[in-house]
Amino acid sequence: MKRSIAPVFWLLFGVGGMLSALTGPALVLITGLAAPTGIGASPDFMSFARATAFAQHPLGKLILFSVIAFFIWHGVERIYLTLRDMHVGGRLTLMWICYGAAGALTIVTVGALAIVGF
């Protein structure tokens, strides 16, 4: 019997699901609401200099990669399964589009983290 590739995507879904359940609400609050409005955060919290220093630090890189890549793989699994259940397209077509997009965005994340420098 041919082995299924599904467990790989379920694992990525699970890692992203747990990571976003634990940190997601706080991160949205910090980067999307507090920092831009300056409510509860200093105006230069996400300044170019600070963000560059964060993205150049190995731990900062790990955090940025984990949050971006795993959140995307988590969301994409849900989107893929829902679109399949909605009969939007064929199974293989949807797989290629959804997982393909997630894979491409993961590579872009790695590339951007490399360009930011060390």
Binding site: F48, A55, G75
Partner: protein, 132 residues
């Protein structure tokens, strides 16, 4: 070619937009919030890699009412995700047996929600500590 033709029960095409399936659809829609937030961060990271002008433009977008409204939606989606994630958890993990008795599912859900709340506070504290 006459392959097997499994019986497909006729279903309304918009079945997912009506109860009881609507609850499942909304739960799955939290994935759009989680991935959408990651996309916003990724555009920020790309603009950071492109230089200060691009990054400041991204910061400007974050300050726009559109972005604030979007992040408010993301926040609601994230909270719904946290809630449903720990409702599902006891159903997807092996049964937890303590002293010959099965740990009730809602205990596992409650424990997960407590951990999520602690993680929420810890993340805010770490961010505040980074700011100092």
């Amino acid at each position: 070619m006459r392959g097997p033709r499994p019986y497909m029960r006729p279903a309304e095409s918009l079945w997912w937009a009506h109860p009881p399936y609507l609850a499942y659809t909304l739960r799955e829609a939290t994935g759009v919030a989680v991935a959408g937030y990651a996309l916003v961060l990724l555009t920020g990271l790309i603009s950071l890699a492109s230089g200060e002008v691009a990054y400041d433009a991204w910061l400007g977008f974050l300050k726009s009412p559109w972005s604030l409204a979007l992040h408010l939606l993301f926040f609601i989606g994230m909270i719904a995700h946290v809630w449903s994630w720990f409702q599902i958890m006891p159903k997807t993990m092996p049964r937890f047996v303590i002293g010959g008795r099965i740990l009730p599912q809602n205990w596992i859900t409650a424990a997960g929600l407590v951990v999520a709340m602690v993680a929420f506070i810890v993340t805010l504290v770490v961010a505040g500590w980074m700011q100092a």
